[in-house]
């Protein structure tokens, strides 16, 4: 009788988790996805692959996020010869499919094929500390954080309820675990990482200021596939940091984000 509140809580949390995981199985989305696969398989020209890519882009337009869709989108752009967009979408898929060897292989293939490939900035030191980011999808890491932090108070309550002091240590462990994964989830969230990534499409000249009248920022034009980190955006121009080269303004017509 005394344990009833804990049972009610546990049941409540379980229901919330299960309902969240199982929600959102849109039929329209599945139909469009299958349609994009059909277009991809039938495509014989670059435009055919672009058509498949357009359908997948539409899927992602309403804020829906899925690593498989980003991956297929990268494939479609790769086949269409748009290596820059392919690289960008492979990078976007990465947080959701970190241990997918096919994704990594295709990304490397796109990087090799891209004429404008330049070095990416080195990984920050803390990425080596948070080594699990290489193995666990972002959503999994967030759920680990939430479940860890969510179960901890139940364990504390159970400890008080059943007079088991040892359970406190379990709760502390879960809390620490949850806090670490929460920090990871914040630092490595796709909104913070891939949202700052951009890539050059086509060929353009980076400028030292906003406008074509400014002199070239680098001694060679930027080509399709040159990745950079967005520092600022204004008036149809993007200011980016190109690793090992420097900073420059690029017209948005030549930037995929």
């Amino acid at each position: 009788m005394i344990g009833r509140p804990a049972l009610i809580w546990f049941t409540f949390i379980t229901c919330v988790l299960v309902s969240s995981v199982n929600s959102d199985q849109g039929g329209d989305r599945q139909r469009d996805f299958v349609r994009s696969l059909e277009l991809f398989d039938k495509a014989t020209t670059q435009d055919g692959f672009r058509e498949s890519a357009r359908l997948l882009e539409a899927l992602l337009a309403d804020g829906y996020c899925n690593g498989a869709v980003y991956y297929n989108l990268g494939n479609a752009y790769f086949r269409a010869g748009e290596f820059g967009r392919a690289i960008l979408n492979y990078r976007k898929a990465k947080p959701y499919r970190p241990s997918d060897p096919l994704l990594e292989a295709n990304l490397q293939q796109a990087l090799t094929s891209a004429p404008g490939k330049i070095a990416m900035p080195p990984k920050p030191w803390w990425s080596h500390v948070m080594f699990w980011t290489e193995y666990l999808a972002y959503s999994t890491r967030v759920w680990i954080a939430i479940v860890g932090l969510g179960v901890a108070p139940l364990i504390v309550f159970s400890s008080v309820l059943f007079r088991r002091r040892n359970l406190i240590w379990v709760a502390i462990g879960l809390t620490v675990f949850g806090i670490v994964f929460s920090i990871d989830g914040y630092v490595n969230s796709p909104e913070r990482t891939t949202a700052r990534l951009a890539v050059i499409i086509g060929e353009t000249v980076a400028r030292k200021g906003i406008g074509k009248e400014y002199e070239s920022a680098f001694n060679a034009p930027l080509k399709d596939g040159a990745e950079f980190v967005i520092l600022n955006e204004t008036n149809g121009w993007t200011f980016g940091h190109f690793a090992e080269i420097g900073d420059g303004w690029v017209k948005n017509d030549f930037v995929a984000k």
Binding site: P5, W9, V34, A68, R79, L102, L154, F157
Partner: protein, 659 residues
């Protein structure tokens, strides 16, 4: 007078600075320049607002023909003076500009809030003068035009001595190549031939004591390479292996060695350059044996042009005091000749080229990467020279493939340069043929062809879909754990499983707000639980709360006993019920409570007086009845009255107990 003194001091420090700068020896440079800056400042202060002046000086006033001296022109009190006109010197000297440096100084002082500023201007030009002919004369004045006014310098006396003809020590500069091409390496070798001691036939360098105590010196001009040429080794790396352990050899310029004692001044380093022996004709035409010493240094040309190495001067006391001078030599760095083949890559020297296609199995129109990799052979120029070959100029490629990127940027990695061309096959069944490219061979001064191996491709029609088996890099046991490092063919297939389409958005912040709610609820539940437990464990409270119920229970027992004919037992139960009620609510011991105690307890609990009186009377009746002073009807009424009184006084007693 002071001005003249300052000028002399400046002259002396400038010589030290200039000499060390020419020799590439930073150990002298820092203190010399600090001193120069300080003195320039001091001089500048004293020359404030003075008219422009041109002051000339030389590093040495007495040299031999062919030997070089440093000639310095210091233009003072002019902010940005033009170069001096030194044409007047060309009659007697070969002139080469070594460099120039501004030594302008500015000082701002604030004393008692008063700001004063002083500026001093000085610009120094340095030339290397090589005497053409002997004689004693004055170096003529040089002119500098400042603000339209031509200023002349002082003239400096010098004595140029004829080099005595001798064949005891012969010195010569020998280049490995007189003509090279950009980035190609070449070496400059200084050869010194020393005649043996006539009596013993031994090497004077190793035999004569005075040569160990005072080794002969070598003065060369290529310790610091001329601009446009770089040395393959730093001075220290180059000379370190040549250091002599027994002080036999030559000193080179002012290169110093380590002193063994902190009290001893830094000594010039001695280098053992001995190579062997050689026979050569002397001045009299008779062959003579010489001991040969060589100093070899390798350079790489950076720019086209003509570069001078020398003169080189040897001074020392061999059998007699000797000076020998080697005339300067020139090395030409030339452009690759034209016309050049269309497939010329820019490479100068010996290179290997390799082609790699990736993927090798694809469909018509699919992108593929053709990697051309140039590896450097021995004696070749830099890889930086090689530019991406124009594949569109190769019909065997241009006809079969669409070239997406015609001019890729090359990457130099691990001694080779790689170009990644993006291609698309135009039709099925085509392959990458052997590609013939061209480089320039400086040895034969001709263009040579280098060829790649042909690459077989499997190209299917665009409409055909690759079967799953065509995808290379079989995962062999599950995708999730297999790491694919290399892959020879096209990109991997799409994800087709609909089960993977779930929305993978994960909102950490909303999740954490849920977690916060859970922590709050848990906290409340824990507080409630602890509070409940605390109340549950209070025995006095429990006794007080259950007091009325216990009393009624005892009265029920009394009724039951009375119905069974146990009158006395019933009366005891009634009495116990009343005393128990008072004891339980007031946390007292029931046994031993008297009517007086009862009365006091009820008064303390503000029980109405009427009820107190009734209860005391009831207890007295019970007591009497216990001793046989009442009948059965009295017992029934006593139980009823007791029940009534318990109900009436209980609330008062309970409140009083809580207080």
């Amino acid at each position: 007078m002071n001005k003249e003194k300052n000028r002399n001091l400046l002259h002396r420090f400038s010589l030290i600075g200039n000499t060390s700068s020419r020799l590439g020896e930073p150990c002298y440079t820092v203190p010399a320049w600090i001193a120069v800056a300080f003195l320039s400042f001091a001089l500048g202060s004293s020359l404030k607002a003075e008219p422009p002046e041109v002051v000339c000086s030389v590093s040495e006033n007495e040299v031999f023909v062919g030997e070089s001296i440093t000639f310095q022109v210091d233009v003072q009190n002019a902010e940005s003076p033009p170069s001096p006109d030194v044409d007047a010197l060309r009659e007697r000297f070969d002139i080469e500009l070594v460099g120039d440096q501004s030594r302008n100084q500015s000082q701002t002082m604030i004393i008692n809030g008063r700001v004063s500023q002083s500026n001093s201007f000085s610009h120094v030009y340095q030339y290397q003068l090589t005497a053409k002919a002997a004689g004693t004369f004055k170096i003529p004045a040089v002119t500098v035009t400042i603000d339209g006014k031509a200023l002349s310098s002082n003239s400096v006396p010098v004595r140029i001595l004829e080099v005595p003809k001798q064949d005891s020590v012969i010195v010569e500069i020998v280049p490995s190549r007189a003509r090279v091409y950009p980035t190609q390496q070449f070496s400059i070798k200084l050869r010194i031939l020393v005649e043996p001691i006539a009596e013993t036939g031994t090497d004077p360098m190793r035999t004569l004591k005075q040569m160990r105590q005072n080794p002969p010196s070598i003065q060369i001009t290529w310790l610091k390479p001329p601009e446009g040429v770089s040395a393959t080794e730093e001075v220290s790396e180059w000379l370190q292996p040549l250091l002599s352990q027994n002080n036999v050899g030559f000193s080179i310029n002012e290169v110093s060695g380590r002193s063994g004692s902190i009290f001893e001044r830094q000594r010039l380093a001695v280098f053992d350059l001995r190579k062997g022996q050689e026979t050569r004709k002397g001045l009299d035409g008779i062959p003579k044996d010489y001991f040969v010493y060589e100093l070899d240094r390798t350079f790489a040309s950076e720019k086209t042009g003509s570069y001078t190495f020398g003169p080189a001067v040897i001074k020392g006391t061999f059998a007699t005091r000797i000076i020998a001078i080697a005339p300067p030599i020139k090395v030409e760095v030339s452009e690759v000749p034209t016309p050049r083949p269309a497939n010329f890559t820019g490479g100068i020297g010996n290179y290997r080229v390799m082609a790699i296609a990736n993927p090798s199995k694809l469909r018509v129109g699919d992108p593929m990467t053709l990697n051309l990799q140039f590896a450097q052979g021995k004696g070749s120029g830099s890889l930086e020279l090689i530019s991406a070959p124009d594949l569109s100029a190769l019909p065997e490629i241009a006809e079969q493939f669409e070239i997406i990127d015609k001019n890729p940027v090359g990457r130099v990695e691990n001694g080779s340069k790689k170009f990644a061309f993006a291609l698309r096959p135009k039709r099925a069944g085509v392959s990458i043929p052997a590609l013939t490219l061209s480089t320039f061979d400086p040895a034969t001064e001709s263009f040579v062809d280098i060829t790649t191996e042909p690459i077989g491709l499997t190209i299917s029609e665009a409409s055909a879909t690759l079967a799953s088996g065509d995808l290379v890099g079989s995962l062999g046991g599950g995708n999730s754990t297999t790491e694919i490092k290399t892959r020879a063919e096209g990109i991997f297939h799409n994800v087709t499983e609909l089960s993977q389409l779930r929305d993978e958005r994960a909102d950490l912040m909303s999740g954490l707000s849920w977690v916060g709610g859970l922590w709050l609820l848990s906290g409340l539940a824990i507080v409630t639980l602890v509070s409940f437990r605390k109340k549950s464990s209070d025995v006095d409270r429990l006794r007080r709360v259950l007091a009325r119920r216990t009393a009624h229970s005892k009265l029920a027992t009394a009724s039951s006993s009375f119905s069974k004919g146990k009158q006395k037992e019933a009366l005891r139960e009634v009495r116990a019920a009343i005393l128990g009620l008072v004891a339980d609510t007031g946390d007292r011991i029931a046994d031993g409570l008297t009517i007086r105690d009862l009365s006091m307890a009820m008064s303390a609990c503000e029980v109405p007086q009427e009820d107190c009186v009734r209860l005391e009377a009831l207890l007295e009746r019970i007591e009497s009845a216990e001793y046989g002073a009442s009948d059965a009807s009295d017992t029934t009424s006593m139980i009823k009255e007791a029940s009534d009184l318990v109900s009436r006084v209980s609330p008062f007693l309970e409140r009083g107990g809580e207080r």
